[in-house]
């Protein structure tokens, strides 16, 4: 098998010859662009990359990547990706999924993949709506969402995808948004670096059926007040001119203003490896940030834990060693035979 010379690949090399078919203005375009931008930096030959998607607007993604790709069935991308990665640990496997695809019909596969910790990168395009089927509410839609299937408003408490992921023993969770492309690309690269399942939730604007769902965070004016960019080892600071921070009082986080005796040293220092703190961060989740806490973006949690496919490979190797050469004749005959002449 020939090895591509990777170094000279450019973002354009990852763009397939298929017409991109999303609504003009859809957030999916920016995400596609950033993924294509990130690819050359991975240093992986493009024939060793596979994008696997379910069904949804977002899940059309693989068609637009000039890599290997599988557009599968609704909600089941993790299943296909699991078989692929287990049997081919040499490949770089990416899952593209929507909020309906991954959290409605596909919720179980998602949590099982997270607990198993197979080394694939999940990009969850959360637009809080079903795009492809033209606008029904999804498991991330806010309570009261008036949609095609909920004319009087939706009633179910939405999932908090990152809380759910932590509860399922995820080893890597992160959040980004379509409208901050540079940050998005950085976090995509971080996700890829993680060995084990990485879940990156991306706020994505569906311009047709749920326009503006994330304006609070994507609007350049409000963003500094509403979005909290996390960095490992750095204090939690936000606000235009970095005026505010988050302090921990025992287990209770509180928003404080810096100055007047409160300095960055008093603040909560982000520790990506702290499961409990990460869980707290996932609970900064009030609609419209009404509890006063900004929405965290970046890597909330990362944990080193053996990737499942490596453990499987280890077990396979052990069995091969222990049982010696696989002897088909012996398998066919079994232990007790007799001869008829």
């Amino acid at each position: 098998m020939a090895i591509s010379t990777v170094s000279n690949l450019s973002s354009k090399d990852f763009s397939s010859d298929q017409d991109v078919r999303w609504c003009p203005g859809c957030g999916d375009y920016t995400i596609l662009k950033q993924v294509q931008n990130a690819m050359p930096e991975l240093g992986i030959p493009k024939e060793n990359i596979v994008f696997v998607a379910g069904i949804g607007c977002s899940s059309r993604f693989p068609y637009y990547m000039n890599t290997y790709g599988m557009h599968t069935i609704h909600g089941r991308a993790p299943a296909f990706a699991s078989g692929l990665k287990l049997s081919r640990p040499d490949l770089s496997v990416w899952i593209i999924t929507g909020d309906g695809d991954s959290l409605s019909i596909g919720g179980n596969h998602l949590i099982h993949m997270l607990r198993r910790n197979i080394d694939v990168n999940i990009l969850l395009f959360n637009n809080e709506i079903y795009g492809l089927t033209k606008g029904q509410y999804s498991p991330t839609s806010k309570v009261g969402s008036v949609t095609k299937s909920t004319p009087l408003g939706s009633l179910d408490t939405p999932f908090n995808p990152l809380s759910l992921a932590l509860g399922a023993n995820a080893g890597f969770i992160a959040r980004a948004m379509d409208r901050d492309p540079k940050h998005l690309k950085d976090i995509i690269l971080r996700s890829e670096q993680h060995k084990g399942t990485s879940l990156l939730e991306i706020y994505q604007n569906c311009i047709v059926f749920n326009d503006g769902a994330f304006d609070l965070y994507t609007d350049k004016v409000s963003r500094p007040e509403t979005a909290l960019y996390l960095e490992h080892g750095k204090p939690l600071i936000f606000g235009k001119d970095n005026t505010h921070g988050i302090r921990l009082d025992g287990m209770r986080p509180e928003v404080v203003e810096l100055g007047n005796g409160v300095s960055a040293d008093d603040l909560w220092i982000h520790d990506e490896n702290d499961h409990f703190k990460a869980y707290l961060l996932t609970r900064f989740f009030a609609v419209g940030n009404e509890d006063g806490f900004p929405r965290p973006f970046g890597v909330l949690f990362e944990q080193e834990r053996p990737a499942y496919e490596q453990e499987v490979a280890r077990q396979m190797a052990y069995a091969k060693k222990r049982n010696g050469d696989a002897d088909l004749e012996k398998l066919l005959s079994g232990d007790e035979t007799w001869v008829v002449v």
Partner: protein, 617 residues
């Protein structure tokens, strides 16, 4: 009193006891020994549905029947000559299987008041006395007492001693049928290699059982069966699920492909998962997924990556795989779907057998979604059939549904096993890498089988995307063009049908290729049909038999053969499924013989059906 040695052509015996009594082990030991003695044989285990129903109840009875003889044996026998019962419940549940005048060997310790109550006979009943008056010969043996006596010096606890009761009984039966003890001795020494005292205790019990039968005068005759005229070769015993496991592993070996099994446990298919999980050294990877959808999804994912993708399940689980089977069909990737059929619908009777998933296999998906359907005819035949299924899947880049059933899966029979070198080749060639200036790769071009190339990730220049949306001929790009859809729909159908080109022509199983009555079967009914046809022909009736392994597509000469008979009869353990396919495709006015009782056909009922069909000619 001297003991008569009676020569028998065939014999059927049935062991029955509580689930804890070790009847399956006893049965399989008798089977092995009998096979080694050169008899042909067929067996039927009969498990209770519950894991461990309360001891002593009818629900907890476990049985094992074996039919063996000096001539060819194809079915486990309708009724038995000798019935061994370890307790009252076993008698209650099994007396219906004993031939009139048959022999009952009864462990009388299992007929105490408590046992009678548990078996719902009532504490005052005397069921053994009663059956004695019905023409059966009852041989009461106090197995518990005798075993304890036999092992009193073994140093084992009473509890452990009691575990050897089955061996004592087996010793009795070995004497009755003149069997050699050595194979069982060897077996016990291997099994209890780490507990030699247990091995020796069991051997002692076995020997003392035999001595007991020899010394006491409870039996007036014992039986001898000459070896059968069996095709020369090397034999072993095998169950259907074991043969399936070995067949898959062999296909991996011969094709050079790694196997990836994605599965989720379900009765009666779980043993395939269990078996393959022990084949890691053959490059077989097993993955117990969170459900059947994930199981088949993972198998398809692995197939995309270049593995032989397999998934195994039964009724409810197969239902869940439907959507993904359709995806694999339009992907045109190789995939083997194993369905070990059980009695349905829904949960049905999970431990019982049935043949009622054939129409689902052929038609049960949305859209025009043609797959290949292959069904084994017996436990040992699972090997060759699954091996062929793997070959078809990879040669035609198509999903193949393998329709086993609960009877075949758990049933065992002697298998003249092949040597590795005798197996068909399964040549697999992945698509080759390309350089940048080569023509663009088209993943849906086709070879002479109409199969598209298997282009696996990691191969330079073949980057391509597959999906469930209709795809353009050759390029594989998304296409909503009406004519293209019509074309591709037919392409997939034609490819499936083209598999018939490489299938062997169907051969007569019994009888001439033309005549009055043709019996057409498929799957696990093979043995009973063959036995019944054979016996009818012995009686001079004009009956022939064919048995179909290939159900979609059918063998090329099937229509011709069907046309050569005045009447076609299709026995199936369902409400009529194969028959619908035959009537539709060959426009032959076939008749069905259908019983849906969760158990194999009896030879007698089939013979009656054949006779009736001939009479109505």
């Amino acid at each position: 009193m001297s003991i008569k040695e009676v020569i028998r052509e065939t014999a059927t015996i049935r062991f029955a006891g509580d689930s804890g009594d070790g009847m399956q082990l006893t049965g399989s030991q008798f089977t092995n020994t009998t096979a080694l003695a050169g008899n042909d044989l067929s067996t039927l285990p009969d498990f209770p549905a519950e894991i461990r129903a309360p001891a002593g109840t009818v629900a907890g009875v476990s049985g094992f029947q074996i039919h063996f003889g000096s001539r060819a044996i194809h079915s486990p026998g309708d009724m038995c000559d000798v019935l061994i019962v370890m307790n009252a419940a076993a008698l209650k549940a099994n007396i219906k299987y004993l031939k009139p005048g048959g022999v009952i060997i009864a462990n009388i310790d299992g007929f105490g008041k408590k046992d009678l109550n548990l078996a719902k006979y009532g504490p005052e009943a005397d069921p053994l006395g009663e059956v004695g008056t019905q023409g059966y010969t009852v041989i009461p043996v106090d197995v518990t007492k005798l075993t304890r006596e036999s092992l009193k010096d073994s140093g084992l606890t009473v509890k452990d001693i009691d575990r050897s009761k089955n061996m004592f009984v087996l010793g009795i039966v070995y004497w009755l049928y003149n069997r050699d003890l050595e194979p069982t001795r060897n077996f016990l020494r291997t099994k209890f290699a780490k507990k030699p005292e247990v091995a020796e205790a069991n051997i002692t019990a076995l020997e003392d059982g035999l001595k007991f039968a020899m010394a006491t005068e409870v039996f007036t005759e014992r039986y001898a069966l000459a070896p059968a005229k069996i095709e020369p070769g090397k034999y072993r015993n095998i169950t259907g699920n074991e043969a399936t496991v070995i067949g898959i592993t062999a296909a991996a070996s011969k094709s050079g492909l790694p196997v990836f099994l994605g599965s989720y446990p379900i009765t009666p298919a779980s043993d395939i998962l269990h078996g393959l999980s022990r084949m890691k050294h053959f490059n077989v990877m097993t993955y117990q997924a969170e459900d059947e959808i994930a199981a088949i999804g993972s198998a398809i994912g692995a197939a995309f990556g270049g593995s032989l993708g397999i998934t195994s399940s039964s009724g409810p689980g197969i239902a869940l795989k439907t959507e993904a089977i359709a995806l694999a069909t339009i992907y045109e990737l190789p995939l083997v779907i194993i369905n070990v059929q059980r009695a349905g619908p829904s949960t049905g009777m999970p431990t019982k057998t049935e043949q009622s998933d054939l129409l689902q296999a052929v038609y049960g998906r949305a859209g025009e979604c043609p797959v290949v359907v292959v069904a084994p005819q017996s436990p040992a035949d699972c090997f060759a059939s699954i091996y062929e299924a793997c070959k078809i899947a990879t040669q035609f880049m198509i999903p193949v549904m393998f329709l086993s059933d609960g009877y075949i899966a758990n049933g065992a029979e002697p298998w003249r096993y092949p040597s590795a070198a005798d197996l068909d080749d399964i040549p697999v060639q992945f698509a080759r890498s390309r350089e940048t200036d080569d023509e663009a790769f088209k993943p849906y071009t086709r070879n002479e089988n109409l199969a598209r190339p298997w282009a696996i990730p990691g191969t330079k220049g073949l980057e391509h995307r597959i999906g469930g949306i209709e795809k353009q001929h050759e390029t594989g790009n998304i296409s909503y063009d009406p004519d293209n859809h019509h074309f591709m729909t037919h392409m997939r159908e034609n490819k499936r049908n083209k598999v018939a080109d490489i299938l062997p022509l169907i051969q007569m199983e019994e009888g001439e290729a033309t005549g009055d009555l043709l019996v057409v079967g498929w799957g696990g009914t093979f043995g009973s049909i063959k036995q019944a046809v054979y016996e009818c022909r012995q009686e001079g009736l004009n009956v022939s038999q064919i048995h179909l392994r290939h159900l979609a597509p059918f063998p090329r000469n099937l229509g011709e053969i069907l046309g050569n008979f005045k009447k076609v009869l299709v026995p199936e353990i369902n409400n009529g499924q194969l028959i619908r396919l035959l009537r539709d495709q060959y426009f032959v006015d076939a008749q069905g013989y259908n019983r849906v009782r969760g158990v194999p056909f009896s030879v007698d009922e089939l013979k009656a059906a054949f006779r009736e069909a001939l009479e109505s000619l």
